[in-house]
Structure formats: structure tokens, C-alpha cells
């Protein structure tokens, strides 16, 4: 077979290939290709304004109105208190700037008679989230201190597994029922906390647990329009003042009942606040938190404590306290 005989088939081959491949290349020009039409569904589907969450304004200064000076505030650090120095710093700075002294009671300083000695030289006591029980002697000391006009500020976050502040203080509180007011709940301090945390799905700051509370009665609510508490306990008082109450439609996690719950109460020389987060430097200037912190500082230094209460164990009767109080049960 000669090479010339192959020319015909070779040409036919090239022509057929060129026709088919060329046709395939030209075809999309008429059929319009296969690029699908793309619509920006992601943007059509998003209401960007509705999903933008802006940061809350943080303005104002923490100021104190009280003209008292040289008062001593004792901070309980003896009962494994779950209260960070960061949160404490806001209040401590305010007190120190206004000429007051802040002392911390360590575990060693709370043993035996040392606890009463510490209390004796103080004007106010701050107890936040204790996780270790008070001894009957320590409790008796706090009560004698309070009866003599020493101010007591209780701060409590929602109870962890370790129990609520009041059960640790031996006050038999931590009620499951709101406002049950049973005789077993009425404490010497006249304040109590509920179990669970407060939330509001209707109106809240950034998170359902960050609830708004508005001013109630008493000096603690002075100049406060509304504050923001993050993860707060509902507190109640027997005959005292509801200083701050949560806004409408706030619910308690355990009962899911909507109500206006008290989150800060004052009963004479005792105040209780159902949150500690508002003291954190990041939250201290949100809403009117700074005004409330100033009020708390004023509360701590405005007591009129008389005598050397609590007295040493041997001279307890001099102060007219102690023996008349029933021993608390832990």
C-alpha cells in the first residue's frame, strides 16, 4: 500500500474531527451557554438593619453623695466568696476616692474571736456570693453588728450548686415560691432571694438574661432611671423597700411567671442586690448602673453604728445583743 492511498482517509478524518469539535465550540453561541442566572439570595433574605446589634452607651461617672468620711467597709473574703477582684474594684475605688477605708477579711481573720474583732472596727460589711457556710458564732457577730447599726450589703448571683447566699448565711431562705412569705423564710435580716435567674425575652440588653430594672423606693434608687443586671436573682423583703424592680414581662427561670420582680431591696441597715455583674468595669457605666453603684457606696458609709458591736464573747451582754437572738441553724 502506498502512502498516497492514505491521503484520502486522513483528510476525511481531519474534516470530520474539525466539524464535530468546531460544532461543539460554536453551539453555545446559539444556545446561550450554561451560565445560570445568579440572584443575591443572601442579601435579599437578610434585613440587615434588623439584625444589627449596636453596643450600649457607657457614660457617666460613679459619684457619692454622702458627706461621711473615714468609714471602714469590711469585705468578706473568708467564705470562699465567688466575687472577683475585678468586680470589687469598682466599689473599692469609689469608696477609697471618697475618703473611706476598705478592709478584707481573710479566712484566717475570720476564725474565732478575730471575726468579731474585725467587725467591731468596721462600719459596714459587704458579703458577696459566699460558698462556705458561716459558723453560728460568725452569724451571731454579724447580727449583733447589724443590730448596732452596722450596714450589711448582701450581693448574690443566681445560686450555683453550692447553694444560695441566704442558705449559707443560715437564714433558711432560697424559696422556690415567689412571695410565699412563710414564717420559715422571714429572716432576721428581712430579705430573701428566690431560686433561679431572671430573664426577659421581650425587652433586654443584648441577651435575654441581661434584664432592665427600674427605680423603686428608697435611697438606693436615687437618680436611677434604669439599670442593667446580667443573670440576676429575684430578691424579696419583709417590710423593707423594693429599691429596684425588673421591668414588665420579666420571668423567673424556675417558675416562668412574668412579674415585676425586686432585684434590689433595702430593709433598714440591710440591703440585698440580686446581681454582682453590674459592678464589673465593663458593665458599671451601662444605663444608670453607675448611679446605682454610687448609691450602694453611699449606703455602706451612711450607717449610724453605735458602740463596739459586736462585743467580745465575755462582754456580749453589755451591748444588749447576742443572747436574745436565737441561734441560727445551718
Amino acid at each position: 500500500m502506498e502512502a498516497r492511498d492514505l491521503t484520502g482517509p486522513a483528510v476525511a478524518f481531519v474534516v470530520v474531527v474539525a466539524l464535530i469539535v468546531g460544532g461543539a465550540a460554536v453551539l453555545p453561541i446559539f444556545s446561550g451557554g450554561d451560565t445560570p442566572e445568579v440572584s443575591n439570595l443572601a442579601q435579599q433574605q437578610a434585613d440587615l438593619d434588623a439584625v444589627r446589634v449596636t453596643a450600649a452607651d457607657e457614660t457617666g461617672e460613679i459619684t457619692m453623695d454622702s458627706d461621711a468620711t473615714g468609714k471602714t467597709v469590711l469585705v468578706d473574703k473568708a467564705h470562699e466568696n465567688e466575687f472577683s477582684d475585678e468586680k470589687l474594684s469598682t466599689l473599692v475605688n469609689t469608696l477609697v476616692e471618697n475618703g473611706h477605708e476598705v478592709r478584707f477579711v481573710t479566712q484566717e481573720q475570720a476564725r474565732g474571736s478575730a471575726w468579731n474583732e474585725s467587725l467591731r472596727s468596721a462600719d459596714a460589711l459587704l458579703v458577696a456570693n459566699p460558698t462556705q457556710a458561716y459558723t453560728p458564732e460568725q452569724l451571731a457577730g454579724v447580727r449583733a453588728f447589724n443590730d448596732a447599726g452596722g450596714r450589711v450589703l448582701l450581693l448574690s448571683d443566681p445560686a450555683s450548686s453550692s447553694g444560695s447566699i441566704l442558705s449559707i448565711l443560715g437564714l433558711g431562705a432560697g424559696s422556690q415560691q415567689p412571695s410565699s412569705g412563710g414564717p420559715g423564710l422571714s429572716s432576721t435580716f428581712g430579705v430573701a432571694g428566690h431560686s433561679g435567674y431572671l430573664f426577659n425575652m421581650h425587652e433586654y440588653q443584648h441577651n435575654f438574661k441581661s434584664i432592665y430594672a427600674t427605680a423603686g423606693r428608697g435611697s438606693l434608687s436615687q437618680d436611677v432611671d434604669r439599670v442593667v443586671f446580667r443573670g440576676s436573682v429575684a430578691v424579696s423583703t419583709d417590710g423593707g423597700q423594693r429599691a429596684l424592680t425588673s421591668i414588665e414581662q420579666t420571668k423567673l427561670s424556675t417558675t416562668r411567671r412574668a412579674d415585676t420582680y425586686a432585684v434590689a431591696v433595702q430593709s433598714g441597715d440591710v440591703a440585698m442586690v440580686g446581681d454582682t455583674d453590674f459592678l464589673a468595669p465593663t458593665d458599671a457605666y451601662t444605663a444608670d448602673n453607675e448611679a446605682f453603684i454610687g448609691n450602694l457606696a453611699d449606703f455602706l458609709v451612711s450607717g449610724q453604728k453605735t458602740g463596739n458591736a459586736p462585743g467580745p464573747p465575755s462582754t456580749e451582754s453589755e451591748n444588749g445583743t447576742g443572747p436574745t437572738l436565737p441561734m441560727p441553724t445551718l
Binding site: 450554561d34 433574605q45 450600649a56 443584648h206
Partner: protein, 295 residues
Amino acid sequence: MAQARTIFVVAIVAAVLVSAVLAPVAYDYGTSAQSDGTVSVITISGTISSTTVDGISEDLRDARTNESIKAVVLKVDSGGGAVAPSERLYLEVLRTAEQMPVVASVQGVGASGAYYGMLPADEIFVLSSTQVGSVGVIGSGGAVPVPDSVIRSGPDKAQPTTDQRERTVESLKRQFVGRVMEHRGDELSVSREEVAYAKTYLGPKAVENGYADQIGALPTAIDRAAGMAGLENYDVTRQEPPQSLGLVLLTSQTDNGTMIYKRSAQTNGLVPVTRPLMVDEIAPYNPEVNANGSA
């Protein structure tokens, strides 16, 4: 003569053999000629991650471009996953639902990110034991403080505050809840606020409150999808996720967005083990974990 008979037998045998090969092809052809179109069943299972969504997106894209596919059924059994992949899944399903009927059939769980993904479906079928809902976002709070041995270029690098994290979670929640209301608002008997509680509902309750449409198993859903596409006789193709995904999923499941540092001998300091950017999870729904209140 004998030779001619042999050739005849060989020809018969060869013909039978060739026919045996061709007959199924012819049968298939005959069947598909009877069929009006195909319903593609696409499986969405396990934790929703970018890898799983890559696969599902491809299946959905195939369904959209293949002219014989007239309807899609999502076979869902997932408790959710990361937020961004869930939104991608949602958008892919939405794009598909604009072209053809899409019906979701929830097997065990269709919660959180998985529920997000099936929102654009025309109908949602559940079983009596199916759990759907959990319309919410979960994420870690403020980051663990970065040790001084790690150099950062700015105060917010790898260090979001609790407030920033809360705003992020709140924004993602609004997107999720907003889309639930947009797609199912007409059916839902619960308010937007109640949806935001992120509760998970069992099948019968879900049908009652509008989270789902009907009680029914996968074949019912397939038949419904075919009916919506106007197919009397139809084929079904099943798109299962590739088997090799198991290993990838396992690693993504352990990634809970927490920053982990390890001590490195080379740099004589702490180095981040996981990527420094936080991952927001649309909570995987796990009944056992949920019982402890941490899901």
C-alpha cells in the same frame, strides 16, 4: 453441514449473551421512558459543617442543573452545627426551592442548624418521634485571656469581650428567628418571642404549632414532592453523603470554639492550638446533653 450447524449454535449463544447485557439497559430505558421525571433524595445528616454543606450544595446544584430532576426531598437527621454552614445550606435549599418543589422529611432530629436549612422547603414531614425546632444560637462567652507571651496587634484580636459575644449571638439569633418567621410565620401558631425561646418540639406538637406540616415517612414525602412537581410516574435517585466524611466530622465536632493553648518547645511559649477566631454554633441538639441543660 455440521459446520453450518455449529456456526448457528455459536450465533444463538452469542446473541443470548449480548442480549443479557443489553436487556437491563433496554429495561431501564423503557422504565425511564415511562417516567415523567426524577425526584432527588438528598441526605442531610450529622453535624452541619462546611464540609457536609459542600457535599449537599453539590447535590442540590446537580438537582437544579439536571433537567430530569423535577423535585427534591431532603432526608434530614441532624441536630445542627455551625452557623455559617447552616446559612449556606439554607441559601442553597432556597435557591433550589425557587426552581422546583422541595419537601423535607425529618427522620430523627431536625433541629437548630438543620431546621434552618430546611426552612425554604415547601412542606416539612416529621414522624411522631421526630424532634424539630431549637431555633437559637449558642456560643462561648468572652475569650480566655491571651497570655502575655502571645503578641497581638490590637486589644480585640482573638479577645472578644462578653458583651461583643452577646451581641454576636443576639444578631445571629435575630437572623435565624427572622427567617423562621419569614418562611413559616403563616403556619406558626407561636409568636416570634416564643420561637426565640429555642424550644425543641416533638412531631405531633410540631405539626400542631406549625413548625412542621404533616406526619409522614420518607416515601410519603417523596410521593408528595413528585405530586407537587406534577409527576405521575417518577424515578428516585438518592444522594448519600460520602463515607469518608466521618473522620472530618469527628474533628469538627470537637471544635467547640474554645481557645486552647499549648506550650511549644520551639517558640518557648504558648501557641494557640485551634484557630483564634471563635465559632458560633447553632446548637447541635443532643437529648442527653440537653437533660443537663448545657446543649
